[in-house]
Amino acid sequence: MEEYAREPCPWRIVDDCGGAFTMGVIGGGVFQAIKGFRNAPVGIRHRFRGSVNAVRIRAPQIGGSFAVWGGLFSTIDCGLVRLRGKEDPWNSITSGALTGAVLAARSGPLAMVGSAMMGGILLALIEGVGILLTRYTAQQFRNAPPFLEDPNQLTPKEGAPAPGYPNYQQYH
């Protein structure tokens, strides 16, 4: 069942923040390297210097904004889990919308609504991809649907225990 003895939630925020920062730095670094290379004057040395400069200046900024997005998303997600008491895809979608709204707060209410919708739809798409991936990779391992008996815990209503539930492997 669970290998960790502790709850994922508060530590997940740091995890997500760091992961987002890394993604932003690496992705932003690649993009800025290409952009700096192209926008520099002719000559390999100039181009490399331009590339390195662009990466040095912009990549940490991009990483920082990704980290803010990821950290805020994870914080709101954990907050919702704590509030509702169950872990759901709804938590992710609402967190995405609220993150978008909070990060656009300086631009006024209309921009907040637009940003919230974008964040919500983006997270819904990501959740959709996750769900599809999980279902399809699990279906690969599933053999023909078995004839499943009713569990032993139910038939004698006193709740006589079953030694083990052999059909657990069928779950996915």
């Binding site: 008491g85 169950k86 759901d88 895809p89 819904a124 798409l125 991809v129 078995p146 139910l154 996915h172």
Partner: protein
């Protein structure tokens, strides 16, 4: 410097939107009049030294004329510009160019269609997962509601009951494990998730099963029970006696 100013004027005249184009030259050209009049001789001298570049099909010579003429010169120049543009435009749209344009538009259309269909498929998956009664998440939600309302479960686990599914690698526990199978021609879904309450260290496994009701198309619960320890189970709901 003055010729640069006049060149700016000429560019501004070509601005899109006839309103801007018409409002502007009127008092720009009066300024131009004022400026060209006293400097007439200076301009003509300048004209000789600056070699006439063909700018958009006419030379600067025609533009830098004196007082009353700038209006006509401007009209001439604008006419010349428009004619020239037309000529260039006509030679652009040959048959091969049209075919290329159509091909490019078609390929863009294909890309857009592809993107829209993928997005639509993803959104449909998410909606089905969140709203249809046959999705494991909905079954999990309803079963958790039943657990929370059951007094024995509350007494064993404690009041704020929380539920979660399988642990995934990122630490999120949203995935609820389930099995779908068919019996007697009707579809059944079996769901398993975990609950925890405020009592420390107590964790239970909830098993729930739904069966499709052929008349209404909705899925109804067959049984829900909680496995507290391997030795003990709490049966929350058992509707199997209603079956034939």
């Amino acid at each position: 410097m003055l010729c640069a100013f006049l060149r700016v004027v000429q560019h501004m005249e070509k601005l899109p939107g006839c309103l801007g184009g018409q409002l502007l030259p009127h008092f720009v050209h009066t300024k131009a009049c004022l400026k060209t009049q006293p400097l007439r001789w200076g301009l003509f001298e300048q004209k000789k030294t600056v070699h006439p570049r063909t700018e958009l099909g006419f030379t600067r010579k025609t533009f830098c004329t004196q007082g009353p003429d700038p209006q006509k010169a401007k009209e001439d120049s604008s006419k010349q510009v428009s004619v020239h543009r037309n000529q260039r435009g006509e030679t652009g749209l040959s048959m091969s160019q049209k075919v290329k344009e159509a091909g490019r538009d078609f390929s863009y259309l294909i890309v857009v269609f592809f993107g829209v269909s993928i997005t639509g498929a993803l959104l449909y998956t998410v909606f089905k997962e969140l709203f249809s009664s046959s999705s494991p998440n909905i079954i999990y939600g309803k079963a958790l509601g039943k657990c929370r309302a059951h007094p024995e479960v509350i007494s064993v686990f404690g009041k704020p009951l929380k539920g979660y599914g399988e642990m995934s690698r990122r630490g999120r526990r949203q995935h609820v494990s389930f099995v779908e199978y068919v019996k007697n021609g009707l579809k059944r879904i079996r769901v398993k998730f975990y609950i925890e309450g405020s009592e420390p260290g107590r964790q239970g496994t909830v098993h729930a099963e739904v069966e499709e009701n052929p008349q209404s198309g909705q899925f109804e619960f067959r049984y829900v029970y909680v496995n507290v320890t391997p030795m003990r189970s709490i049966i929350i709901e058992d509707n199997r006696s209603q079956e034939s």
